[in-house]
Amino acid sequence: MEIFLQEGLVLLKAALWAVALSLVMALVAGFLTYLERKVAGHMQARLGPNRVGPYGLLQFVADGVKLFLKEDLIPSDADAPLFRFGPYLVFVGSFAVFAVLPFGERIVATDLNIGLFYVLAITSIETVGLLMAGWASNNKWALLGAMRSAAQSISYEIPVGVSFLIPIVLAGSMSLQGIIHAQAGGFGLLGWNVFHNPFSLAAFFVGCTAMVAEINRTPFDLPEAESELVAGYNTEYSGMRFAFFFLAEYANIFVISMIAAAIFLGGWQLPSPFKDILPFGLVGSFVLLAKAAVLVFIVLWLRWTLPRVRVDQLMEVCWKYLTPMALVCLMGTAVWMWAFPGRIFFGLFGTA
């Protein structure tokens, strides 16, 4: 009896987290679509959405309702089961990462001991989903987009993985919370992994570039390249299924920003006097979210600045530049740790 009760409680907790996280994901992704249009607008001396709600803030709700009410279209020559399944796989790949995202010192759905590895692994499902969607659409644009996306994600997995290894090496842990804990000290700033040594600083930029490429954002948005492929893998999609792609795409921006902020920028680390102002380490949560917000803005900013790279350039950037650089950073960090053990901020300070 008791065992059932315990199991039930675990399940209930999991279900509650799932509901909460899906709400967070929907809100964040929705808000990001608004933010992207607003940033794009102002960068082009326009206003961006400003009609629905105050400052157009409810625009994404209107868009969501519109997509929800649209006709459910499946092209007659499409492979219907795969066509239906693709978007959900993409969505799941993105949503599953939220399970290990540390929102604060004590706010995390589950702190897996292989957290970062899990992130790398589960996001690969998205590629399968995109490939499925592109293949099932039975459309040349979609197939080309899907193929590009597969090539891109497989290639960029490597620099991302290698640059993830650097915080792992520094912390001696794969859990996201463990990595954040390891960045303590130095007024919550000097302990950041990005400041540990010159190699980790370089690794931060290499990793962020690679992550931007992995989620198919401009300037690496070849899978959907509007000017060449209509809309790439989601050419044939409309209504709710399109919304799932869209949701995953924008949630991914948030996900990579959170992960980069957690593993390189000190996560929720704070100088000790500020830690307990609010319960549950909420101050730290705000700090983490602020860091993520800055990174999100940079991702949007890049999109409205840079043109899209060519396919050959894309591969060149990955294999000739990012991958070797990430490897050098990894080795450099290892050597640094051996040469200056237990020191932070470019070896200038000892750990407290």
Binding site: V39, H42, M43, Q44, A45, R46, L47, T305, Y321
Partner: protein
């Protein structure tokens, strides 16, 4: 070897530098005053857009803006010049003889008025706003206004009657 290493590092440096340059440009533009005029709220037909809270660099409609045509039948001498000038025949004029009066012309000279338009229809749905009818008019009776909101659900409402025979019922609009 040294050469290719140099090129490699140069490429990385170049990429970083150009990306930063681009980011600078977009960041500067981010804080520029938006140029958008919030049209129905800001009435661009008015002279002073600032009064509506518009901060951008654009001005109101220019003086030579070609909106809907407007006709003042009082000074129209029914010479039919505009009707003949129109390349797509969207003006229709019917006139009646009246006692002679004089009208101040566009160039300042007096113009004799011996006819008065009893019907002056312009099909604004067909008009292409070329202005060929405005130019030959001796009295300036026909001119462009700044009105441009012509959305309608029936095409006939775009046939505007500038003169109606007095005492007669308003004619059904006809597509010219």
């Amino acid at each position: 070897m040294v050469q290719s290493m140099k090129r490699y590092v140069g490429n990385v440096g170049n990429t970083t530098l150009t990306v930063l340059k681009g980011l600078r440009v977009t960041l500067i533009n981010l804080f520029r005053t938006p140029i958008t005029i919030q049209y129905p709220e800001v009435d661009i037909r008015q002279k002073d857009l600032k009064a509506f809270g518009y901060k951008g660099p654009l001005g109101p409609l220019p003086d030579r803006f070609r909106g809907f045509l407007h006709v003042n039948p009082e000074i129209c001498i029914a010479c039919d010049l505009c009707m003949k000038a129109c390349p797509i025949d969207c003006i229709r004029i019917e006139s009646t003889k009246i006692d002679k009066t004089t009208i101040q012309g566009k160039d300042g000279k007096a113009v004799n008025k011996v006819k008065h338009p009893v019907r002056f229809d312009i099909h604004l749905g067909k008009c292409m706003y070329c202005g060929l009818c405005v130019e030959p008019c001796p009295t300036g009776a026909i001119s462009f206004s700044k009105e441009f909101e012509g959305a309608t659900s029936t095409l006939n409402t775009l046939v505007v009657h500038f003169a109606e025979p007095k005492g007669l019922p308003v004619r059904e609009a006809t597509i010219l």
